[in-house]
């Protein structure tokens, strides 16, 4: 129990997941979990899986002094509160988009501007598979977005080994309903959201900026809501300038991910589960990555799948914090998936 930690926005989906991870984390102790609307209630009031945890939500107005603060609040809150967060904790890990993009120009284009642009340069993007070297000692970490994480993990080996960066790439993503957070409104109600294949932001999605910024690759991105709660699956359709072989692909992917503790290659073969699927990794910090090669069209189809609340949010944040603080990377993150499983 070396480190103390707080979660701001603990009544939300990402915040609840952070609490779940931290109460079992061997090297971190959760000391504060905030919610304005549920102040004084037990964590179990919001999260039935935490009924045994002896902690009540407290107001984000009074932040305890801790080693590590996770902010799992909506876009805009962290920029407004960052000074208070940094006063409260030596290491701040933000799960929102507020410090993810490296340049203020991108915030002006894709969001509503940025009130603390001077911090963007020092904030460290929190995806260890991309940015492991930059994390140790970081005091402001911005965990990647879930769709961007799925896309980046799928494309990274190609970008490193095979692509120039000017290729045509289409990223078609399918996501679960927890991506919208707890306050989803009409469109998120069960009768309206069940059984959908619902395009949302079919063009011009904000995650394009994050992918471009970190991969140096422009992608044409579309996202669709489908009927699951947890999960994001990205199918990347990539058209390399030169034909590639299966062997080239295996080599690029194996080289990149062989030693990654949270990335599994899954491609082809027989049986029911031949390619990455979100339900296989639900509840875990794992990402599955695989590919297929389309001879005729000289296309590589890369598929990646993860749990948006875990590898796409809370799990990645804890992973990044582990690296930042020098804790064992996989500490608190070794849960295994379930089989069979419906739509976790």
């Amino acid at each position: 129990m070396g480190y103390t930690a707080s979660v701001v926005g603990a009544s939300g989906f990402a915040g609840g997941e952070l609490c779940r991870l931290l109460v079992e984390h061997p090297a971190v102790e959760l000391v504060q979990a905030t919610s304005r609307k549920k102040e004084n209630r037990t964590l179990g009031h919001a999260h039935p899986n935490l009924r045994d945890v002896d902690l009540r939500f407290s107001t984000p107005e009074d932040l305890a002094s801790v080693d590590l603060l996770f902010a799992a609040t909506p876009h805009g809150v962290s920029m407004a509160e960052i000074d208070r967060f940094r006063d409260a904790a030596g290491t701040v890990v933000d799960l929102s988009a507020d410090f993810r993009l490296p340049e203020v120009g991108l915030y002006e284009e894709y969001y509503d501007g940025h009130s603390r642009p001077e911090l963007l340069e020092s904030a460290v993007y929190g995806l260890p598979e991309l940015n492991r070297e930059a994390l140790p000692g970081a005091d402001l970490v911005a965990a990647g977005g879930c769709n961007a994480t799925a896309s980046i993990l799928g494309l990274l080996p190609l970008v490193v080994d095979i692509l120039d960066g000017d290729e045509q790439v289409v990223v078609d993503v399918k996501v679960g309903s927890s991506e919208g957070g707890t306050g989803g409104g009409d469109a998120a109600s069960h009768p309206e959201r069940s059984g959908v294949v619902r395009p949302y932001a079919p063009a011009g999605h904000r995650h394009e900026a994050e992918i471009a910024a970190y991969l140096g690759l422009d992608v044409a991105f579309s996202a669709h809501a489908v009927d699951m709660v947890r999960g994001a699956s990205a199918t990347c359709h990539v058209f390399p300038d030169e034909p590639v072989s299966e062997a080239d692909l295996w080599q690029a992917y194996r080289e990149r991910y062989e030693d990654e503790p949270f990335v599994d290659l899954v491609a082809g073969g027989s049986g029911v589960y031949r390619y990455p699927e979100p339900k296989s990794v639900a509840g875990t910090n794992r990402a599955e990555v695989g590919f297929a090669l389309d001879q005729s069209s000289e296309r590589v189809v890369v598929i990646s799948a993860l749990d948006n609340v875990m590898k796409g949010a809370a799990g990645q944040a804890v992973h990044a914090a582990n690296v930042a603080l020098g804790i064992e990377e996989t500490a608190g993150l070794d849960a295994r998936g379930l089989h069979p499983v419906g739509s976790p």
């Binding site: 004084n40 209630r41 037990t42 179990g44 009031h45 009924r51 045994d52 002896d54 902690l55 009540r56 407290s58």
Partner: protein, 54 residues
């Protein structure tokens, strides 16, 4: 430490608890009002009927 007056389970409290605050019991979910703080005394809170999904 104080027991829930609904189910008898142990109520988790926090340091700066104040009279008038509402607590929930983690077993039975009862909403309890803090009447006194030293020692802590609670009673059932006036119920906020929440009819969900009916």
């Amino acid at each position: 430490m104080v027991d829930c007056i609904e189910c008898g389970g142990e109520l988790s409290l926090y340091d700066d608890i104040e009279a008038g605050e509402i607590l929930d019991c983690s077993t039975c979910g009862a909403e309890l009002e803090v009447l006194e703080v030293d020692p802590v005394e609670v009673d059932k809170a006036p119920e906020l009927q929440q009819d969900w999904g009916e």
